[in-house]
Symmetry: C2
Subunit: 316 residues, 2 copies
């Protein structure tokens, strides 16, 4: 028996865009959108809705900005496609440029925020809500921000926001399944009127296991990416998640095609997945940036040096 309330959100292009500076061609994104939609996935997160004025560097691809026209070039003519989601970072969106939902090609906006920024995130999500969008608040780095401020933030999300879903995000890929169980129970103390979501990272090969754990504890919004493509160690893979879920509307085959034709070749050009410095960062509950940096230098394979540096940081 399956749980009909479960919604799968594919964020391959959005989180995967952090791997290649959001530089996917329109044709590539369109093929992924078609495949993911044919697989029965509910939402397709196509990128960030950042203001171009804030990121003048021309090396960034279109999916850091997601103009309405660029989104339409992907979705037009795709029948019965997944609903489109965009991610919004507090302070990076030109709210003047945002059209009402009825005039725009995307349905959902997810506002990503650290716990300390939750007031701004709620205000922004409510602006999008008032324009007619489905909204989520994604609370990031919850393996780090676990003090009393988290209870307050979750309480605020429930009481002050109109968001349909509050996402719990394991940005550092540091949680074990026990942590998920405890975090979801804690969230449920405060968040009583909204759905919960989970977004994992795969530093410790636990993104899928933790997503299952979230499902067991009645989390209904689940993030995944094709072949796990995403920042650093990447995410829960969509092909594993669809193989686990029992709703007959899901079909793994279009995702298998995407992996074979698009993502195996792409993985030759860009790095993500189970890579030892990212594993170490996850074990030590650290932001992925230092591991990403070490992978670009001559010490990319000197794992002991990286480990020693990370366990010593802050001790001196």
């Amino acid at each position: 028996m399956y749980r009909e309330q479960i919604k799968v959100l594919d964020c391959t292009i959005r989180d995967g865009g952090l791997v290649n500076r959001h530089d996917f061609s329109v044709d590539f994104v369109r093929r992924v959108y078609q495949g993911v939609s044919a697989a029965g996935v509910d939402y397709f997160e196509i990128g960030y809705k950042n203001s171009r004025a804030l990121f003048p560097d021309p090396s960034f691809g279109p999916w850091k900005f997601c103009s309405d026209d660029d989104i339409r070039s992907v979705t037009q003519g795709v029948e019965g496609g997944a609903k489109i989601s965009v991610m919004a970072d507090v302070g990076r969106v030109d709210m003047e440029s945002i059209k009402p939902a009825s005039e725009s090609p995307y349905h959902m906006v997810r506002v990503a925020s650290y716990v300390k920024g939750v007031d701004k995130a709620i205000a922004m999500a409510n602006q999008f809500h008032d324009l007619g969008y489905e909204t989520c608040i994604n609370l990031m780095a919850l393996s780090r921000d676990r003090g009393p401020e988290l209870d307050e933030a979750m309480d605020q999300c429930d009481k002050e926001s109109h968001a349909e879903v509050i996402y719990l995000v394991d940005s550092f890929g540091s949680f074990y399944q026990e942590d998920i169980e405890k975090l979801v129970h804690r969230a449920r103390k405060w968040i009583k009127t909204k759905e919960l979501g989970f977004h994992g990272h795969n530093n410790q090969q636990l993104a899928f296991a933790n997503t299952i754990e979230a499902i067991i504890h009645n989390v209904n919004y689940l993030d995944a990416t094709v072949y796990g493509m995403g920042r650093a160690a990447g995410n829960c893979t969509l092909e594993l998640l669809l193989g686990f879920l029992k709703n007959p509307k899901f079909d793994i085959r279009p995702v298998l095609d995407l992996v074979a034709k698009e993502f195996i070749p792409l993985r030759q050009k860009h790095e993500w997945g189970y890579i030892i410095p990212h594993m170490i960062a996850g074990q030590l509950n650290m932001h992925p940036q230092e591991a990403l940096d070490v992978r670009k230098g001559e010490d990319a394979e000197n794992y002991r040096l990286f480990f020693e540096r990370m366990v010593s940081s802050g001790l001196d």
Copy 2:
């Protein structure tokens, strides 16, 4: 707080030997033994104790046979090294050649058996026990053999064998963590006088998660391999497991060195890990052989074809 009863068994050379026909050089095995021992691992499984007469093919390397002399060439001069384990398959060992434990260089023998072969496995394990060895019985393919015969086999293992440990083996990499919880509880109904062990495969990126689940339910003998090297999708990685366990005797650093210096280069030559046909085999609860075969042919990347073939097999 850590659980002192937990024992880690590294089976990189034994399960990894299924990837390269057991053809590791003595120097390589010695370096792995030194690293794994320095990491504080309790047991080092060095290969299979098969009769050479049964496998005359000269392309098999020494670790399919594990002569006492070959084992000594690895262990001699290594101070405080991990205890040596060998695996024995029913019907493949020349029992006449086995010396008493006091005269041999290995301490533990693990007898691997499908559920239906458990009588023979118990008899063989008892023979080794009578020669003075620590013994285990590894019950394989438990995602397939889950009928009443499993209860009987577990009851027999408890009552008729002198084995110290009964291992539950997810040969097909098909179990989710819920399955582990239920399997361990079921095993505990029958196996009351022995320790339990767990050996996972990583087809669905769950070998580590399932090992954690086994730990939560008081399984104390845990298998892992360096960088996950093992048949098909491989195993729970030793570096993840040591990062999770809290016993201060464990040190991840020598394992990080092994990954960097030995296993990253080796992975260029031999394939194991998260590979889509192995993922499909795990999802569908199938023996890994068909996925291994497809990876050798021209349809290695035609995942849809493999999936269709596997879901159709047995339907006609």
